[in-house]
Amino acid sequence: MSVDYLFFGIIAFYLIGAVSAVILNKKDAICAYTSFISAAIAALLGIIFSISVIFGDTFSYNLSGGSYLKFGFFVDRLSAFFILVISICVFAVSIYSTGYVREYFGKKNIGYLGFLYNIFIISMILVASADNAIMFLIVWELMSVVSYFLVVYEHEKPETRKAGFIYIVMTHIGTGFIMLSFLIFVGTSGSYSFGTFAEAGKTMTPLLKDLAFIFALIGFGTKAGIVPMHIWLPYAHPEAPSNVSALMSGVMIKIAIFMLIRVFFDFLGATQAWWGYVVLTLGTISAILGILYAVVESDIKRMLAFSSIENIGIILIGIGASMIFFASGKPVLASIAAIAALYHLLNHSIFKGLLFMGAGSILYSTHTKNIEELGGLIKKMPKSAMLILIGVLSICALPPFSGFVSEWLTFQSLLLGFNLNETFPMIILFISAAVLALTGALAAYCFLKFFGIGFLALPRSKHAEHAKEANTPMLIGMGIFASLSVLLGILPFYVLPVLERIAASFTGNLESFTFANFATFAIPSSMISLSTPIILALVFIFMLILSLILFLINRKKQPVYETWGCGQPVSTSRNEYTATAFSKPVQMWFKNLYRPARETEVTYSTSLYLKESFKFESKIEQVIERYLYEPVVGFVITRSRKLLVIRTGSIHTYLGYIFGTLVILFMFVIAGGSS
């Protein structure tokens, strides 16, 4: 019973946040505090609620008992895990937001942002807890539309409006496929309740199952940002206000992963190995393409958005491997792979939230998100720099930070493929591991560029020169995520048992790892073990010893001099390496993918030997957008031009069309009903 109160308490606090934002929208500061603090309280309740469901009973609540429209909530361990992820992120992001929105005071309507923000979170919680298809689609649509309004919050910029348009079109194509997939289930079970879908999944013909799988993959995959349905993501995520980007990349795309697990495992039973191959392949392609585009990107937020595609890919690699193992009757391996995916999902929510908030802090104090105009920020905003560095180390999967543990687990689950004793799955799992290794190395490349060019050396522009430290709420918000990134890295010993319970809810296998002394966990029967606290302790001990030695032998003050420039005085920012140059080797290596185009423009003064100015422009091509989407869009536009003849402009004709359509549908129903 108390869990009921807790659940409605969560919804109530978000609603209070939304309503108070509208009421108080004349007073910017008060409005920001009430709406975001209220969201933070709701998030705390959400954390308590989800933990109590993970360790206790499934929560279900029936809202109305009507025979046509049944609304209710259903939260099992899997959805509780996602509510936990949402709540953790919302808590930190809400605190951050109270500081971040100061940027908008007096310029934009804070009430509007606070309202949408709270409604957006409610819609995500409801998506995770809906218990029937109709209700699900309504809240899913709510989530899409509200997030669209959030994306176009700064709608005075034309590129924001374009991003919003691409987003709303793509998300509706996705919703269309989700409807198709659900209709297949409804057709078999005769009910919209999710509870009956699992039964339907068992009795469906193989063809219908395959169709339901494909439609769900396309539909939810669009929201998750899986290549090739990802094209909206690098437009929409960067244009939203940074606190919203943190939630979109951190949480919203994960909700789609939640539904993919739900449909594939719970509804369809994950019976076909080839579904696993498809998911694994798409995951691998998303990972590598995502990071390849991230490496050469100079816009911080766009780079982070591409990196989200990469990380969704890594999560899908885990899920795909899990599906392959599950279909081959290896539930232990299936749950290890699923745990790897869930662990990475949790880690990614946190470090990507941290990095988007970091990008927001940079934007807040420098008013630019172009890496080429930054530099030297580590001296201007040392605290933010430290927190962002922790995020960077986590996303690069460097030990002992959080990303390392989940990537290590992903590699191990791919390696465990040798237990399958079949050639094809083994080869495909190993190739995926090789691509994942390349992805990991390129991620380190990408984020080294971000931190090295953005934060080190000298400021490259006036913007960076006048940067100042982010305000306290922003630092607290980032600090929460940074400490979580460290804790998730060094405490897998405590995290894994929780994830075991969650993975058990769809793979049926409870004990996947063995735990030993010194915070060690091991994969049974393989001698493979890992202890990140020991690694951290060793690195620390060596650092201490070395620092002590240096301190003892280095009593004198260090002489300071100019940077070496072959004897020339070069200590200006003009001589620094640029971000474009830094990622140039990758651009050369993959030039067939990027298809780079460059333009140079030189003006001369008096003679050809004296250049007055030199302009260099280089851009790369988005292959999938160019060769997959543009032809389709072009086709649709030319064909729909032909349809213009039926547009008369008179309301009577339109009423006639509607009437005609109704009559035809009516006849169709009667004809269908008699057969």
């Binding site: 190395a441 050396a457 390496y577 080797p585």
Partner: protein
């Protein structure tokens, strides 16, 4: 507990004491192949001792990263040193991490060195850092596949267990997949230790440097730490090759003192042979252009992939 601590400290001392020597031997061997006299094989010790006595001149542009990076990198390499079997398979802390953890610890060391390269604001540093990460990215897929090939063979990625099992196999350890994986890993070792044809460790031209350009701004004591870390990393990579592909002669837990001394001598012999092979490769090839390197590392990738495929064929899919 005390015995474990002793054994860990001994391992670190051996790595630190032996790694400059192997650099000296490689330099001497290269000189021999090039019909030069070359410096003494103890020259690296003299260099490091001298650097430790000198002041570090630091650029005015740098932040704390520049000062912390050598220490963090060195600590990461030393931590990896405790996870890799040297002359004995039993490692007191071997449970804390496997081969993949070792790869990521090296990545941690590389990340901070490359980060520091950007800190002084010189173009050379950026160039070096960018190329270093580029080479690392090309190496990674082949490295992971050869790790997989080795791990499949024994069913684990735990390094002590790999050496233990393989040394117990006798000559059976020389299976086709092991040989193919060895070729792949040898090419990777060339790239990871910054040797010709990937990088030239003795170049004096900033534009052709990779590793040397990255650490161009370091001097004095800091440079000593960076150089010692690089030599230790080289020794550890050679040890990986020695103990994964030629594990015979390695001591195991409970061996007597004479067996341990013998194992240590055998280990040194193996490392010297690998060093001589490196020197031969370096002398017989020219440095490749940076953008031809993907070809070389694709060869390595192909070998590691063949190792996997041949494992599946031999062991039956």
């Amino acid at each position: 507990m005390i015995a474990a601590l002793q054994s860990a400290i001994l391992q670190i001392i051996i790595i630190l004491a032996f790694s400059p020597l192997i650099s000296g031997i490689i330099k001497k061997a290269k000189a021999f192949f090039q019909i030069r006299k070359g410096p003494s094989i103890f020259q690296p010790y003299y260099d490091i001792a001298k650097l430790f006595r000198k002041d570090s001149v630091v650029s005015q542009n740098v932040s704390w990263i520049f000062h912390a990076a050598p220490i963090i990198s060195f600590a990461a390499v030393m931590t990896a040193g405790l996870l890799i079997p040297i002359y004995i398979t039993s490692l007191p802390l071997g449970f804390a991490g496997d081969l993949i953890a070792v790869v990521y610890l090296f990545a941690l060391a590389r990340f901070f060195t490359a980060l520091a390269s950007l800190d002084a604001g010189s173009s050379f540093g950026g160039m070096g850092g960018s190329r270093e990460m580029f080479v690392a990215a090309m190496v990674e897929p082949a490295l992971m596949l050869s790790i997989f090939a080795v791990a499949l063979n024994v069913g684990s990625t735990n390094l002590s267990y790999i050496s233990q099992t393989l040394s117990g196999m006798g000559m059976d350890a020389l299976s086709p997949y092991q040989i193919l994986a060895f070729v792949a890993l040898f090419i990777i070792a060339i790239a990871e230790t910054g040797r010709i044809p990937v990088d030239n460790p003795s170049t004096h031209l900033e534009l052709t440097m990779i590793h040397e350009a990255m650490i161009l701004e370091y001097s004095g004591k800091q440079l000593a730490i960076v150089e010692l870390g690089a030599m230790a990393k080289q020794l550890l990579i050679f040890s990986l090759i020695a103990n994964i592909f030629f594990p015979w002669g390695i001591a195991s837990a409970g061996s007597g003192i004479s067996a341990l001394v013998l194992a240590l001598l055998v280990y040194m012999l193996k490392i010297v042979i690998i060093g001589l092979a490196m020197a031969a490769v370096e002398t017989s090839t020219a440095k490749w252009r940076l953008f031809r390197l993907p070809d070389l590392l694709s060869i390595s990738l192909m070998f590691s992939f063949l190792a996997l495929v041949s494992f599946i064929i031999v062991k039956g899919g």
